[in-house]
């Protein structure tokens, strides 16, 4: 393995390009591209409020990465930065969003605003204000926990407000369970776990891959035609350039209502 892994990465990218040229890309056909664009427009209308939870606490960074990918994908071309509203305790546990790392996910330094708030009530208050402001491409809200009263507020106030204003809000919540179920009245509910990514081999041990997720759709039955509750899908961003990879990635789970089609080149 070279010290920086650069030559291995280049080899890996060459292989990826060869796969795409051999017919692996889902967007290379113009007709499909147009259809995807139309589907995206439908998604943006329907996808007002997302609820994303890690499978376990250890999967929190993966869930954060998936939320950021969804935010940058849904907010692309909308104008305005991405707003990340986080409770201080959540940042202490999971780390602070790191600007050079955000750039790898297609979010520029100027396209990101972070609010660090001490109390959970403040986080939801800021989320409600941000939804009403309609000034952001997408809003990610990261509380450190969810009390019963928070769940009621999300279900009765925040999700309907997002639907009414057309804002795209993503609730990045702690792991769900029997005592802390998914709460948002939306089909866009996902449980995210980290997944070993395709990776280039080098020497005795391979290089780490890039972002990859195993995502379980947990929306209400029948809310997305063709999808079974609990269905699991693999999504990954291959290659070093996360930005172009994220933008060419079709949104998972047939969010356009056309059924599951999660894989992307």
């Amino acid at each position: 393995m070279s010290p920086s892994g650069r030559s291995e990465r280049i080899g890996f990218l060459r292989e990826a390009v060869a796969r795409i040229e051999a017919g692996g890309s889902s967007l290379e056909n113009k007709g499909l591209e147009d259809e995807a664009t139309r589907a995206e427009a439908r998604v943006r209308r329907r996808a007002a409020f997302f609820e994303i939870a890690p499978k376990t606490v250890a999967d929190s960074p993966a869930a954060a990465g998936f939320a950021l990918m969804a935010a940058s994908r849904l907010g692309a071309g909308e104008g305005g930065p991405i707003l990340w509203i986080a409770e201080e305790f959540a940042l202490l546990e999971s780390g602070v969003p790191h600007a050079p790392g955000l750039a790898l996910h297609g979010v520029g330094w100027g396209d990101f605003v972070l609010m660090r708030l001490p109390r959970r009530a403040d986080v939801f208050l800021a989320l409600e204000e941000a939804i009403r402001a309609r000034a952001f491409a997408a809003i990610v809200c990261e509380p450190s926990g969810l009390a019963e009263s928070d769940a009621r507020m999300i279900a009765r106030r925040l999700a309907p407000a997002a639907r009414a204003s057309g804002a795209r809000a993503i609730l990045l919540r702690p792991p769900a369970g029997p005592r802390a179920p998914f709460v948002a009245p939306t089909p866009m509910r996902f449980e995210v776990a980290a997944r070993p990514a395709p990776r280039p081999a080098a020497g005795r041990r391979p290089l780490p891959g890039f972002a990859a997720w195993r995502v379980r759709w947990t929306g209400p039955p029948g809310s997305l035609p063709g999808l079974e509750p609990g269905s699991v899908h693999d999504v990954d961003l291959s290659g070093e350039d996360f930005l172009s990879a994220a933008l060419s990635l079709r949104l998972p789970f047939g969010l356009d209502g056309a059924g599951a089609d999660s894989r992307a080149a």
Partner: protein, 430 residues
């Protein structure tokens, strides 16, 4: 009174700075004095020797300070004139005469002020310097025959004052960037509330909204404004004004040269409205939660990961584009711990990459690794020596990706590295 700590070298040293100040203020007959405490500097300027050099005391030298003060008259303590005269009549003419005297009799006869000033002069007690605030650019105020105490009354008065202020700003084609409401209580107490805007403001409702958020935050965090018997004077001041850029909502597209389509016009106004909405949101949230809680990342000229981005108040505007990453730099994580967390590692050979590591009481099996990327400490910035870091991007058997680093080198000697290198997790990848 100027606090010149750390700034004198910019003027060629303390002596040169003092000379410059005296030269500029020569027609007012000004004299300067430089010392470790404001009281000593004041005393030197007024009662010090004629030679300017003797009115500059070396920094951090308590003995020199005591020697220089000992010969000054007691009036140099900045006490009342009558107290100074009474002290002189008892034979205590110089500061040196009272320094070693028993304090109790002097305090009993002349009050506690004498020794309070003496301690402040010698640096034994801290007395803060009260800054002089800049005169506001525009002011509007309202007096009341009886104090007002209701929050609604106060907010509506601020809104009314904002209208007066905006008329003044419009006449000068300016907008407010920094505002303050000063509330004078009936019993003489003064309360000041500051607000800042990310763009020049000239809209009364926006100004009123900012202060409403601020008062709401005060009610939540400090139990309110402490109205007491009420406020009999409210003053709204523009502390900093800027030329008002014509709002895009008031901008006529027909003023532009060349043909434009209707779509252009709609898009143009949509962007303008979005910009206004964004600035309004950031200002309101900064007023409510504090500017330090609404942040944007600004690139910094540092290769240390934790110093590469500086979180600045979002009201400062959008950050510039960062310079391109240097050739060969590894990937950076999505999330970074402000304080790297120590881990235990097991490696094949002592200076090799880890095979497995324990973090937060869970063991992680390393299946893929990239590195090391060596980052040397900023020896030209740090007064204390720091250790070299070797960064690794690792993936465990569950597909979780971490950013680890080893601090220190095997075989290196030094006071910092008594037990060999240590390992930390500093960031997490998606």
């Amino acid at each position: 009174m100027l606090d010149v700590a750390g700034a004198a070298h910019l003027f060629g040293g303390e002596a040169a700075l003092a000379a410059q100040v005296e030269e500029k203020l020569a027609r007012h007959g000004a004299r300067t004095g430089l010392a470790d405490t404001p009281e000593a500097a004041w005393a030197l300027a007024r009662y010090g020797a004629d030679a300017a050099r003797e009115r500059i005391l070396p920094a951090g030298d308590a003995k020199a300070l005591a020697r220089a003060m000992a010969n000054l008259p007691v009036a140099a303590l900045r006490i009342e004139l009558e107290t100074a005269r009474a002290l002189s009549q008892t034979g205590l003419k110089c500061i040196g005469d009272i320094v070693h005297r028993p304090r109790a009799p002097i305090v009993a006869r002349f009050g506690a002020q004498v020794f309070a000033r003496l301690d402040a002069m010698m640096g034994l007690a801290k007395r803060p310097i009260s800054p002089r605030f800049e005169a506001p650019a525009y002011v509007a105020e309202r007096r009341f025959a009886e104090g007002i105490a209701a929050r609604e009354q106060i907010e509506s008065t601020i809104a009314s004052l904002a209208r007066d202020l905006c008329d003044m700003l419009a006449r000068h084609d300016e907008g407010a960037r920094s505002l303050a409401v000063i509330l004078f209580r009936v019993d003489g107490a003064v309360r000041r509330i500051d607000c800042a805007a990310s763009r020049p403001l000239r809209e009364p409702s926006a100004i009123a909204r900012l202060f409403r958020e601020k008062i709401e935050a005060l009610s939540r965090d400090e139990g309110g404004l402490d109205v007491g018997y009420g406020f009999d004077l409210l003053r709204l001041a523009v502390m900093q004004a800027e030329k008002f850029a014509p709002g895009q909502s008031g901008f006529k597209l027909s003023d532009l040269a060349g043909p434009r389509s209707a779509n252009d016009s709609r898009g143009f106004h949509r962007v303008a409205r979005a910009d206004d909405a964004l600035a309004d949101f950031l200002d309101r949230m900064s007023a409510r939660f504090g500017a330090h809680r609404v942040l944007r990342f600004w690139p910094q000229d540092s290769h240390m990961p934790e110093a590469a981005a500086l979180a600045m108040p979002a009201s400062r505007g959008a950050p510039p584009q960062p310079p391109p990453a240097p050739e060969g730099r590894g990937l950076r994580p999505l999330r970074l711990f402000e304080k790297p967390e120590p881990i235990e590692t097991i490696a094949e050979v002592p200076d090799g990459p880890p095979l497995r590591f324990r973090w937060r009481r869970a063991m992680h099996e390393v299946v893929a690794i990239e590195g090391p990327e060596r980052i040397a400490p900023q020896w030209w910035k740090n007064a204390a020596p720091a250790l070299t870091r070797d960064y690794f991007r690792v993936e465990d058997s569950n597909g979780r990706r971490f950013w680890l680093y080893r601090e220190g080198l095997y075989g290196a000697q030094g006071a910092l590295q008594v037990n060999g290198p240590r390992w930390f997790v500093q960031g997490l990848f998606a």
